[in-house]
Symmetry: C2
Subunit: 146 residues, 2 copies
DNA sequence: CGGATATCAGGGGTACTGAAATTC
DNA sequence: CGAATTTCAGTATCCCTGATATCC
């Protein structure tokens, strides 16, 4: 794949797809030793930033499908990292709250994740990394308006 | 997802993964009307650039797994876009060759793909698109050496 | 023999659709 | 009633492992 055709190598979607796949491998490989998954971090980060939230809200914030949220949250519940409780104001909702153990886990995963990011963009200088994130953020925002 | 937590939005791997997912949706949506798949283009582009090649070689060039190549190439054979013939020099190999119809198809898909790229990075200026591709290429190359 | 190629069977993760049950 | 939330069943695609047959 080092010799991918120029027509492919020039397409942003192809580059992004291949880098995304590699990033996924780095994540799996880096998180396996601590028994975590990337979406564990995404859910914990959402709860950290926005406080206790319904499963629907978590999914909307970090881009997880409604059908997948339940199993993912259940894994965190089983590990004692979050607790689930019905919302007394609206009994359709399950309110998910981070436990102290979940808080510690989040900080641990944040460290691991940052190391993985370093590994992923190791070829770029600090200034270039900032620029890449800036460009990617604008592309992302243009497809996720407001 | 417009309001993803900052901890997530800052991670290159998260941005790339979400953009990759969106790019995939654009590809599926853009290629469905012409009955094509992204890997059809990847295979045709490889054959265009390197000439007739074995399935193994195609897979290595454009990053398709050895187990998946056969079914993908068969789709192109069924559509009359490529032909398959055993290599007389090495009868283990199936040499895949683009047909005139495949050549036309490749040019058609190239146009469609370029429109999708424009759509994907529509938020960026021409200079910024070049810069993004440059940064992504360096990240890609650092993980696919030589 | 070792090594490479093609092929197939199957697993696992991810994204998604459709539908049901519950509650507002 | 319509709409929102949770939950589950099932589908599709992609990436990957393992095994087999064939051939160099």
């Amino acid at each position: 794949m080092n010799q991918a055709p120029a027509r492919l190598r020039r397409k942003p979607s192809w580059l992004i797809s291949k880098i995304s796949l590699h990033a996924h491998r780095l994540l799996v490989e880096g998180l396996a030793p601590v028994g975590a998954r990337a979406y564990h971090y995404a859910i914990l980060a959402t709860l950290e930033e926005y406080g206790p939230a319904s499963q629907m809200a978590i999914g909307q914030h970090c881009g997880i499908d409604r059908s997948d949220i339940h199993a993912m949250v259940s894994e965190l519940v089983d590990q004692g990292l979050v607790v689930q409780a019905p919302d007394p104001q609206d009994r359709r909702r399950n309110i998910i709250t981070v436990t102290p153990a979940g808080q510690k886990r989040f900080e641990q995963l944040d460290t691991v994740l940052d190391e993985i990011q370093d590994n992923l963009v190791t070829a770029l200088s600090p200034a270039e990394r900032t620029q890449l994130v800036s460009l990617l953020t604008r592309v992302f925002n243009s497809h996720n308006p407001r």
